[in-house]
Symmetry: C2
Subunit: 409 residues, 2 copies
């Protein structure tokens, strides 16, 4: 093992963990969710400002992927499946409108701005994303995850992730020049949604089997490792089936949420999450390229102009989606705002566009600006809308809990 390689990795890890911890605490002192601090810390230590952390470092990226899988696993454990199914139609409506409306708005606007067909499609696709990681963290930060609005947002963000996967399949087909068949799209849809439905079914009858299996495990440490192995296996399986890894991790949490001795697993996963989850958010921040948005260059000004238009459309599109389920009597504004952050999903879209040669640096900068602003604006906006969160959920115990993944200070 090359020593300098290990040293570089350990050094970056120290920077990431320290920055996340300090900025998270500072954000909370200012009355903001910790995740906002972690994202900004990422921008600061990333290559466009301090340059201490390389978001393309393979091992760091993979650790951050483990972080988002653990976060979704923890969220899955906290989620009540019956409640999620009850709001299923509402979530589905929000998710579909949250993809269709921003896509149409973005496509039309880009065409009017004189962009090519393929570029407009790619920019519009970036607008459809919802970061389930950031959405879930903010809801958890504010103690709002188990509210009806929280469940609708969570369900819609998960479905949005699957829809995004389908959209990517279609765009890849288009950008490689060959057409897309209805069969391909239907097949992808069936696989992507099939996993989620199968996992929900498995959670119903899998619980007794798991109870018997885990009753034999004696040490609490073993139980946590067992849970992690289970979550990672299901993540792998979901990807292999053509669905998304985070869907697998979330499903694993849903299935285990009925197991006995859940408390021991929750405690273990929370400790692991304290280590892994902030790595994810700092790396999302570090992946942001601030340089493309300098107002001192004509390209930068053009990118800022297009970016502002994308921001307005991105926010308007998701707010429309939030108010689409006309039968829902709860706070539609909360649902809409909860869908706004694009986060890592938006960045992934933008980077694919750049890598495939569809985006020029200017349009990439504009898309990035839209991702930054929607990601950073949503947490404080939600915080304002949801003053006085459900206090009794937090005051229970001194023990670290999964909610503590967010509200630690």
């Amino acid at each position: 093992m090359d020593h300098s390689e290990v040293m570089q990795f350990v050094g970056m890890l120290v920077v990431v963990l320290t920055a996340a911890r300090l900025a998270g605490a500072l954000a909370q002192r200012l009355g903001q969710p910790a995740v906002l601090g972690e994202l900004i810390a990422g921008v600061l230590v990333g290559p466009s400002l301090c340059g201490w952390v390389d978001p393309d470092h393979q091992a760091l990226r993979l650790l951050s992927e483990l972080g988002v899988l653990m976060l979704l696993f923890a969220i899955g454990i906290e989620t009540d499946l019956t409640q999620l199914v009850r709001v299923g139609a509402t979530s589905m409506t929000v998710a579909v409108c949250g993809v269709v409306v921003p896509f149409v708005l973005g496509y039309v606007a880009c065409r009017l701005l004189g962009q090519s067909d393929l570029r407009s499609i790619m920019a519009a696709a970036t607008l459809t994303a919802t970061s389930v990681g950031i959405t879930a963290r903010v809801l958890s930060d504010l103690g709002y995850l188990s509210s009806v609005e929280g469940q609708i947002i969570l369900g819609a963000a998960l479905i949005d992730d699957v829809l995004g996967l389908l959209l990517l399949t279609i765009i890849e087909g288009l950008s490689e020049g060959h057409g897309i068949s209805v069969g391909l799209v239907l097949g992808s849809s069936a696989r992507a949604f099939g996993f989620l439905i199968a996992a929900a079914a498995a959670s119903a009858w899998g619980a007794p089997v798991l109870s018997r299996l885990t009753a034999r495990v004696e040490s609490p440490g073993s139980l946590t490792v067992f849970a992690v192995i289970f979550a990672l296996s299901l993540s792998w399986l979901a990807q292999w089936c053509g669905s998304a890894m985070i869907i697998g991790a979330f499903s694993a949490g849903l299935i285990l949420s009925r197991m006995p001795r859940l408390h021991e697993v929750e405690r273990g996963i929370t400790t692991l999450g304290h280590f892994f989850v902030p790595i994810f958010f700092v790396l999302v921040g570090a992946a942001v390229n601030v340089d493309a948005l300098s107002p001192t260059t004509p390209d930068g000004r053009q990118a800022l102009f297009v970016g502002c238009i994308l921001i307005v459309l991105g926010i308007a599109g998701k707010l429309t989606a939030g108010s689409a389920p006309f039968w829902f009597r709860g706070n539609k504004l909360v649902v809409g705002v909860g869908m706004i952050p694009r986060g890592e999903v938006g960045l992934i879209f933008a980077r694919i566009g750049l890598a495939a040669g569809v985006f020029d640096p200017g349009l990439f900068g504009a898309a990035t600006l839209m991702v930054i602003v929607t990601t950073l604006a949503a947490p404080p906006a939600l915080k304002r809308l949801l003053r006085e969160p459900a206090e009794e959920l937090d005051a229970e115990s001194e023990e670290p809990s999964i909610r503590d993944l967010a509200t630690r200070a």
Copy 2:
């Protein structure tokens, strides 16, 4: 992020964690330390047999490095500095004899077998290694870490690691053709040992400062992350000073072992260790190349022959070292056997020899065989010598403890 890359990583991680858990439990059922099972599991899933896990995968290797750092950090927390200093002279004698005796024996034997001067030096250097990770895990497995013999072995293994670093500096100078100056060696020694001494001093007056700092941290989760950041920072600093990373991690544990609310940190580190530490041992096993030792080829037979000689010398050298401190009244055989496992340190030496073009595949195979046998033989041998470990240390509580990193089942 490329999906197939994440999938491959998550898949290997699932294999590593599952294999470690199953083989560890099986080893314990057969009355052996869990670490023996993890090492053998590594050989099984590694490239020379099943080929499911690539020990050269960057992210996996870096995770395994985090594993050994966390192990040494945990061991440092458990270690009583005053006791370690009290047995310091004994440890130093064992360490120095444990380097000099196997080196001389190995060099003479290799010269007699007709090997070149540089090759003989490299093979002899491989014989001097002691795996502080494996030694410490076995002692912890058997509840013997805080015994006098345990502390002597631990101290000697740590010093051995620093001596090994010096030896590598010298050999690199030799193999690159330019000579070595006394000044270089003295400078390296001063830096390598200086860190350990500075850390020991820091632990004496650093404790009150840390108490005040940590008293302000409210959430238990934060305290664990703070401890991890501290351990990784000191590991980085140790390497930067010219010492070894594990010395830094161990020192961090020593310094924190006097902090208040140690129990919370211990619990958190244990949970993280359950995840990271087995990755290290499985990867040590996976790095072993079984193919070079096939008895069906002449090269393989030659390698087996040289390997057997190295094994005998390697064991004899360390047993001599164990009996060298004539004033010590305890069980010298235990000390000698505890120094036998070469583990990852031996593999690192052997791989450097191969990469530098000093070893041919045959001598590399022989060195590998010596590493495998000494590593796998020591845990059961120690287990036999130390029947009936200190029971009362384990039966205390249901809580996961640092000792539980080893004895979990």
